[in-house]
Symmetry: C2
Subunit: 289 residues, 2 copies
């Protein structure tokens, strides 16, 4: 099955579970709004790509892992956009969840998406109990305290945030979860797959910082210049635009080199390069890809 | 080991995992503040009581279940207190988390507590993989959409909320999780333990509604009259105070009757009656207990 279709179907099935008679309808609608239409779905794509490269002998479990990771990503976007954080009006080219619904429903939608991610893993993991605990640990650590997404967002409340630590927690952790969970879901030792996630996570963050200053607002789907406006740490602020592009090139090279020997290595390398190309503003694409 | 000590130690171990070098310190402090000192810890107490009545052959797993349930309860309190919901100044006799820290840290603390609950289950469940999936499903369903705590809170955004459905999701679900998870953690068929959770959850909600109009504010640890002030559905509004007390008595009787035959049944019955007595304002205690 086409990967895009596979991801969207798995997400659809997860979201539909909340849309049953007896459920609060507005919250169910806010959940759907937060998940569809998606962005590039880069994290679940990465998870399934690694599972595929590792043999994908339990596709339903890989789907559950990819879905959990994307739902947790969506949850973090909904909460990050709240008035007390970024106060973002728009996201993915439409109103943010708290603007389209309201603040209570945005808080609850984020909470529900977090729970839904773990519930889906539990459901599929019932048939693969010996892989479930590892998957859960990998994914929960990547979003919680002390080193996951929530911790990364928590660094914005600290006076002396270290850029690298902040970005590793806020963005890198879920990329690491994607590669490690992809291998774990396929029953393969996930250790060697960690570096790929680390490099791609950092590359993605650098690309995000670059887009924040250099992309068309329309291409970006949200206002430009948010990092500077909010005084947030940024690689561009630290290294300049050219330095940030060079850093991105180095990380992508390192990522591609790190792919462990496996039947799907060549295809995975191609996919990684293709995905990275999409992340960079068109006018910078030639130098970065 | 004394149950209170057992619960506090398990919660302490969970919270301490977030307090490591390299973690954002304020968020770690907000987590601790949200969990300690606790309230009556009635849900983890119920979970361990049922596990004990069922033989408690895997105490570490029962601890993880009880801890997860209490952390999820704490998370719901932190988010419920936010300005966009109850805007509560105080909780458990001290400032609410968003007042003692700030709103971003309160949102993140709630998120982190949710994740921490599932991570702890994953960690202990690694040694009992065949009980892990059932525990996770029970607990995640009790907090998520469509019928868990988050759904219950979501009913506050609906124009035509049904009181019973609202309260069953918002409060009852976690009591059901406590009894079902207690049995599951001990390797016992959890089906017959469901009614106990349902009755106690409803009893607790009725007691809460009674306390909201009849308790000392000091005994309550939060402002009185919140339900009426916020136009929230309440059993007292529906049945009057005497009707609510009668309803509470009926539910407690049903709960005690429902306890399945097991070696610890008598002790559990006593514990249930003792806990209920604590929930009722002193001046009403004689009639309700």
């Amino acid at each position: 099955m086409d990967t895009t279709l596979r991801i969207e179907q798995a997400l659809e099935a997860a979201v539909a579970r909340a849309e049953v008679p007896g459920a609060p309808a507005k919250l169910a609608a806010a959940l759907r709004y937060a998940v569809f239409p998606g962005g590039a779905r880069i994290r679940p794509r990465l998870c399934l790509a690694v599972a595929g490269a590792c043999g994908d002998d339990d596709p339903a479990l890989a789907d559950a892992a990819a879905t959990a990771i994307e739902l947790l990503h969506c949850a973090s976007l909904v909460h990050d956009d709240l008035p007390c954080f970024d106060n973002a009006e728009t996201r993915r080219g439409k109103l943010s969840v708290h603007r389209a619904f309201d603040e209570p429903l945005a808080v609850l939608a984020g909470d529900a998406l977090i729970v839904m991610a773990f519930e889906g893993l539990a459901r599929e993991g019932a048939l693969s109990p010996h892989r479930l605990s590892g998957l859960l640990l990998t994914i929960s650590r990547s979003v919680g305290m002390p080193f996951g997404i929530v911790a990364g967002q928590g660094w914005e409340s600290e006076p002396d945030a270290v850029l690298e630590r902040y970005q590793r927690a806020k963005t890198g952790s879920l990329f690491v979860a994607a590669t490690v969970a992809g291998a774990t879901a396929a029953g393969v030792d996930p250790g060697p797959w960690r570096i790929l996630g680390e490099c791609l996570g950092e590359a993605y963050q650098v690309a995000d910082d670059i887009r924040d200053v250099a992309a068309d607002p329309e291409e970006l789907g949200k206002p430009r210049g948010q990092d500077a406006a909010l005084g947030r740490p940024s690689v561009v602020a630290e290294l300049g635009l050219a330095g940030a592009v060079a850093r991105l090139e180095g990380l992508v090279g390192e990522a591609v080199e790190s792919i462990p020997p496996c039947p799907g290595a060549a295809a995975l390398r191609e996919l990684v390069l293709l995905q990275v190309k999409r992340l960079v503003p068109k006018q910078l694409a030639r130098s970065a890809a």
